[in-house]
């Protein structure tokens, strides 16, 4: 549960002034959505951990220059993560392999339910391949990063209505592909 807006602003201000425990609080608060977004982009657990760590390091490094007055640092963190991901994927473009799809499941126990989940997730990952890069990123930010349309617009440097349109169109595409898998080829 996130603190109140004023409390969040205070925490961010304290972190800016060098309070390590304040930054620690922000780190614990924001790690999960940032990590999920990075993980979905890279589809590799180890790389996702590395990029997530680097994201927070960069944020900590640039914190004195942080000027955003909003009671959240998530757009800022997602922007850093996104830039790191662009550099990362230039070096190592993710390839959608079957074993990687199976590895996307974060659970460790191979129960029957998780196997079924893996199957569904695999189908969904394959379906997402039909989306354009922008559409896929919009979906990842919306569902895995849990960002609002306005925040996604800031992160991706686009207009909010364009983002809304991308989300709607992407979901329709996904539904069409899931119903007719042959469209993926």
């Amino acid at each position: 549960m996130e603190p109140e807006n004023q409390t969040l602003k205070d925490i961010i201000l304290q972190a800016k002034s060098g309070d390590r425990s304040a930054f620690d609080t922000l780190y614990r608060m924001y790690l999960t959505p940032v990590y999920r977004y990075i993980f979905m982009r890279l589809r590799n657990k180890q790389d996702a951990e590395d990029v997530a760590q680097e994201t927070f390091l960069k944020a900590y490094e640039a914190l004195p220059r942080y000027r955003d007055e909003r009671p959240t640092m998530l757009p800022y963190l997602f922007t850093i993560a996104r830039n790191l991901l662009i550099n990362h994927t230039k070096k190592k473009r993710p390839e959608l392999m079957e074993h990687e799809i199976m590895a996307l499941q974060a659970g460790t126990e191979d129960t029957a339910k998780e196997a079924k989940d893996n199957e569904l997730h695999g189908a969904l990952v394959r379906a997402m391949e039909v989306l354009t890069d922008v559409e896929r990123e919009v979906i990842e930010l919306r569902f895995f990063g849990e960002r609002s349309y306005s925040e996604i617009a800031v992160i991706m440097e686009k207009r909010e209505d364009a983002i809304r349109q991308h989300v709607a169109r992407s979901m329709k595409k996904l539904q069409g592909v899931m119903q007719n898998p042959e469209q993926m080829i």
């Binding site: 930054f23 620690d24 680097e54 004195p64 989940d117 969904l124 849990e146 329709k172 899931m178």
Partner: protein, 270 residues
């Protein structure tokens, strides 16, 4: 390009309605409630199925998201492999500034190793001192480092004939060794001697010889002590007699002096 022709998809649904439906889903609403909130009404059965399929995709995306959790090690595995922040300057408290030089990894990002390094003077020093003391104590008491007992080397004085004989007699017997090498020889001798004792009866002549030698050494030691005691007594007697002679001489001298003085006094009184 993987463009999907979906012009004929969801003609009954505007983008805003679809987004409202997804928002309601994200808020935890059920399908019917979400449709009502999104003002989606009058759908045919096919449209409903199509919309339900899209709803399920949204549900799947949300459930998938929940399975992606950063593993605990990511919090602490941290930044061993990543470079430390070098150009960060912030106003840390003064007591921290001195040890940080303006560069510090936040607590949750730091590894236990880094924390240990930070606290090494507080945590490590007492343990190091303790183990050092224990190690030194142990080293001093270990047999290998213990100094050898003082060896009896060749005496710096001439031995008398009796002493030489006594030492020769004593060295012929099994005894407590003074040198480590002698200790080894003696132990070897004792072991072989014991083995012989267990396997064969001791030679009587040898036993007698050993016994005789021991007796003779003991006798010689006794004689030495007696001679020493007598000589001490004789010396004491001589001193005593000399002292008596001196005392007697002094007494006679005093009497003589007193006698002469007494005569003079008497003569004066008279």
């Amino acid at each position: 390009m993987n463009e999907i022709q979906n012009n004929n998809q969801f003609d009954f649904l505007s983008d805003e309605q679809l987004l409202a439906l997804l928002d309601a889903q994200g808020a935890g609403k059920d399908f019917v409630t979400a449709c009502r909130e999104a003002a989606i009404e009058g759908l045919s059965e096919d449209d409903s199925l199509e919309l339900k399929a899209l709803w399920d995709i949204g549900t799947e995306l949300h459930s998938w998201k929940d399975t992606i959790v950063p593993p605990p090690p990511v919090l602490d595995r941290a930044l061993l492999s990543t470079p430390m922040i070098t150009n960060f300057s912030a106003s840390f408290p003064a007591h921290e500034q001195a040890s940080m030089n303006g560069v510090e990894t936040p607590f949750s990002l730091a590894t236990p190793y880094q924390l240990f390094l930070r606290e090494k003077w507080k945590v490590g020093a007492p343990f190091a001192a303790f183990f050092l003391i224990v190690a030194v104590t142990f080293a001093m008491k270990s047999p290998s480092s213990r100094p050898a007992p003082l060896a009896i080397a060749t005496p710096p004085y001439e031995l008398s004939g009796k002493e030489v004989r006594t030492m020769e007699a004593a060295s012929s017997l099994p005894r407590v060794a003074l040198h480590d090498s002698e200790m080894q020889d003696t132990l070897a001798f004792n072991e072989s001697h014991n083995a012989e004792t267990q396997t064969a009866p001791l030679d009587k002549e040898m036993a007698k010889s050993v016994s005789f030698t021991e007796d003779s050494v003991n006798e010689e030691n006794n004689v030495d002590e007696m001679v020493l005691a007598l000589s001490v007594e004789a010396d004491a007697d001589a001193e005593f007699l000399t002292q008596i002679d001196e005392d007697m001489t002094l007494l006679a001298l005093e009497n003589e002096t007193m006698g002469s003085m007494g005569t003079t006094y008497d003569e004066e009184q008279m």
